[in-house]
Amino acid sequence: MDNMFRRIAVLLFLFIVTIGLVGCNTQEENKEESSQDQNSSAEVEEQEDGSQEESKLETEYPLTVTDATGTEVTFDSEPTKLVSLIPSDTEILFALGAGDEVLAVDDNSNYPEETADLPKLGSTYSGLNEEELIALQPDVVFINTQLQPEVAAQLRAKDIKVFGSNPQSIEEIMEAITRTGTILNNQEEAKAVTDQMNEDLQYVKDKLANVEPKKVYAEYSAGWSFGSGEFANDLINLAGGENIFADQESWFEVNPEEVIKRNPEVILYTSGEEGAGQENKEQILSRDGWDVIDAVKNERVVGVNSTKASRVGPRITESLIEIFEAIHPKLAE
């Protein structure tokens, strides 16, 4: 009995927290944070302007940048001992060519392959190994303030320099890449990365000119989808789709009746790297009653690499193209 009560209480709590976290954060705090992002990127740009006279882009230290927690972070010299506690920042650091300066990453950082050899410091969900982190004496630790709301304050209390980011759109991701490039004095590399991303974006935009969006149902895991306010929802819109649950917010478990009623033209499900998750497709195709959905009738049920789509890093435009191709296969040819 006691056990029962406790379990229910815990589950209820978790449930509320999950909903709360995903819901509230995206709605309110983020507005603030994203405006801060813009402030900080504005600062960065000023400094860029200053140094752009020279042929090679160089960062001048000391450099002060305001991060997503609203804290002014000052770098006295070029940071060379880096730690990333979030996979998206890990990908950014490697994309900027700073991979060999990364001392350690979190458990979930698994891209690029080189991360496999790095020490792992735990994860926000299962607990961070703070002792090891302190022992590494990093110049800066990169985190995501939306997914790790308490980590910045925790580490700063222990005199560790933390830089938090929280990009909410592809533009903001590119800003974050530029900003990180500035901090690391890798501005050339950052420009190369963002140029490629802009090119990808433009490619999709050109293809979708004058094209009607298609109705899309996106399934994170069996029966779970999301509404507007989620980054994934914006990705679908950019890729020429319209989430059938755009009238909802945050992540939630859908009522299957409603999916049938709203009749999506395309169903996206999450697949792993290298097309894993084929069985999810079969499962969706064989659900009772779903045979009347257009997407199922026409077998427009397509897997999307969930890692790429969910990480706010340099591969986000690759994911955008993948989703675009999933929704509009004919245009992509």
């Binding site: 607990g127 029966g223 909802q248 478990e253 009522n255 299957p256 009746e257």
Partner: protein
Amino acid sequence: MLLLFSFTLSLSIGSSMIPITEVWSVLLGKGDEVSTAIVINVRLPRIILAILVGSALAVAGAGFQGVLRNPLADPYILGVSSGASFGAAFVILFGLQSALFGMYSIPIVAFLTGVLTLLLVIKIAMTSGQMKKETLILSGVVVQAFLGSFISLMVSMSGKAINEIVFWMMGSLTMRGWEYPKIMAPYLFIGIVILLSQGRALNLFTLGERQALHLGVNVERTKMVVLVTSTLLTASAVSVSGVIGFVGLVVPHLIRMVVGPDYRLIIPLSVFGGSIYVLWADTIARMALMPKEIPLGVVTSLLGAPFFAYLLKKGKKGVKL
């Protein structure tokens, strides 16, 4: 009667607002394609599954209460749900959802680990061929605590924002289709018949095991039959729906308060009571925040806990619990 009424009403209301007349024309085979798909292939199997799961849990609860002579016993008291959750969590954590038994990996593994847990509990509680009910409950608690810590560990290891393990444990009947009720129905039927046949023996159990023995009840065998049958029923319900709390506790209890202590009535009425309870809880789960789902276990407990508290309070005055 009440079940039939609930059935019809629940079938008629749903997150997709289909008028009742349309539901009826679907049932008569004249509905349009989408309505037919929703009513026949989504809503109907779900309602049937709710009925099956509800009756399995309630009747198993009655069985456990009878054999343990403890009105506070519920189907999860001997760790079946922890065992099943352990199995499900294991499958989810290691991404084996499709690897072992196709789409039925979670239910099959959860069922097996649930049953194995009971065997373990019995093994611990058994001393020289006899099980004392106190020892049985205690060893259930011990095993439950042990597995619970493993489940917590696995939840923390899975490291996802939307934790499938947690949501599995909160229970749900969505996305089950026709296959689940088809598989579950025959076993449920057999289980209920077996428990029904033990109703008279369970009445004698209320006098105490020794008196039951002298009235010709094969005490140890009856205990084993009822425990194993109730466990199989519980495990089958948990394996398809996750952990749905309070049904197995509140329903037989309520029935007992209304019709008295006779298990010949409590067991069959629990079948109906459990069906109606879970059917309505699931209807709320799919309706309240539509088109979102609320975990079913949350609804049953949210309804069940205050209701149970009320029963306890009221029971103190009049009816003996």
